[in-house]
Amino acid sequence: MNAHVTRLARRNRKPLRAYLLPALVYCLLIIGVLIVVVPLMWAAAASFTPNHKVFEYAYPFSWRALLPVDFTLEAYDNIFARGFGRSISNTFFLAFATVIIGGAANALAGFAFGRFEFRGKNALFMIIVMLTFLVPVDLTAIPRYILINNFGWINTWQGLLVPGLANSLVIFLFRQFFAEIPQELIDAARVDGASWLRVLWSIVLPISKPVLVAAGLLMFISQWNSFFWPLLVAPRQELRVVQVAISLAVEQHRTRWNELLAGSMIAALVPILLVMPFQRYYVQAITGTGLE
């Protein structure tokens, strides 16, 4: 009898403990998700609200702030009327050009750093990576502007594009990945008389999908988010990029909050749609786990 009770109790206690821990974990998760979601819902709702009502329910805060109770497409209409669509296509073009040209230049260099032995290799690599960390962008902006101005590249695609091609994280990734490729693969091709460029193109690149995707994403997103340099080098409306277009909603003494948020919602969608399907490659490229 006694033993039976004890056994019953034990049987009862174990499920209880087994439920308690996940319950706690889920409570924490829910709080965590709320902290992320509540501000996002407010931002999304506010982008569908007339500007003078943006803070009406957020301030003092009530649940109405999380739903577009005064629904209007005014903010979206306004930003598109001022050429937001053009800014999006500009930025897409710019980001794709960066990925293709920058990808080629960085992959070539990454291959050389990863696969060849030559004098001064490590020093050169360190210098290239380190100099990019010579912050701040705002200070190097003036010398860089002078240079670009001397080329006559103000208000041109080249002026926007070229500085975005140098990305030390990308060359870091390429070097790392290429260095891990088994030597036998390359030797086999070389014995067959293939040139180095041929080896890179038909042997190395086909097995480098993770690093290509990851580097492409990195360059695409950094170009998509770039603000200060485009603002400086291409003030003309025809060349305006997304982040600059969004920032125009912030005026000196007042801000059109709904337009700021509407622009940001659209601008945020693109990187999310790109990153989500490809996140695996990103990690594989960094960790080198992509090679079977």
């Binding site: 003078h52 502007y145 006559g152 603002l231 003494h253």
Partner: protein
Amino acid sequence: MKRFKLILSIVVLLLALSSVGAQDVTTVTMWFGESAFAQCLSDILTEGFNAIDPGVQLEIVPQADTWNTTRTAVVGGGGPDIVRTPGPSFVYEMAQAGLILPLDSFADDLGWRDTFVGWALDLGAVDGQVYSLADEFETLIMYYNKTLFEANGWTPPETTEELIALAEEVEAAGIIPFSHGNADWRPTNEWFVGEFMTQIAGPDNVYKALSGEIPWTDESLVEAVETLDMMMQRGWFGGGIDLYFTNTFDTNLATLGSGEAAMNIEGTWRFSNINDYFGEAANNNNEWDWVTVPSKTGADLFTIGMGNTSSINASTPHPQAAAAFLDYYFSPAVQTQLLGSCGKAPAPLHYAEDALDGLDPRVGKAFGDFFAAAADNRYGYTTWTFWPPKSDVYIYEEIERVWLGEISVDDYLSGLDELFGEELMAGDIPPIPPR
């Protein structure tokens, strides 16, 4: 190297060719922030100026973060033909670097010495030559919730003493005396420091301190900063020091409009959107009005500030056309039109008596009184226009440490005195109109 030279000469040749092609029309470029306000200015200016001479056209480029981009571009040898800066200390630097042109010959030829009020051209002078034209004259005034005042039987104060007494009364009624806060713009702090110095120590003492005749630790200036500190310590600014640091402009104006706060010392630039926070637009039945910031003696004093300056880029290929635009822009007719249509603060020119008719009477009275005071020697100095740059940053950064009790008022002012002394020695002081 040879190849590089070749490319360079091709580029130069192309550039030369392209400018030959465009020679029949000269384009003057100017950068503005993009906003409804800037769009309004832009439309009026482009339409008006371009009709004058088809051979000289104006192009206004909307540019966010205008000053940062202008500085970088001009220092880098590019930028717009018309260079706009936030104030005299920036003009001083640009003129020293040879980045902008002296305007004296244009001022003589185009009669600017008569268009502008007496001391206005001197404000743009560097080493005896005029380099910039002052625009957007602005001052600080005290806005108040008129409906709230009437309901409680309060009258707007005229002296500092009355101001303090009123603030005590307002506080006792459970209302925040001043809807102040600096979360959007930390230099808001300097408005109050500068304003209290002028209103309590008096403009003469501030002038003497600015010209190095008396130290910043002078008794009168200590009194001014101590009064400010007292008001902050009693929680009158925004409801408490920590709230002051978190209140945004939107909060400030909304609390003033709703009657949760009674008064707000702010710039005349606020005329452009204060109506969003009163009456129907804000779901309340309140009205606003303004008075001059109360002074110790009770005199009506206005501090002078400058929102912008305009100069001509030294790298412009057509300075004449740029000057023609400045001549058009700084004319009473155009300035009045911009004030009436867009709410732009006017440049300091001589205006006709009826120039301010047709404006909201409160706005018209503000500019009328302000210009009268400026002509009549009843003016003081705003920190952002008349203080040299390092002292200016010190004014608004370090005052926070006074408010937080980390340093004393005396420490604060002796620190300012030391820094100001260095800048005075180096000669980096913006011009001050003599009293």
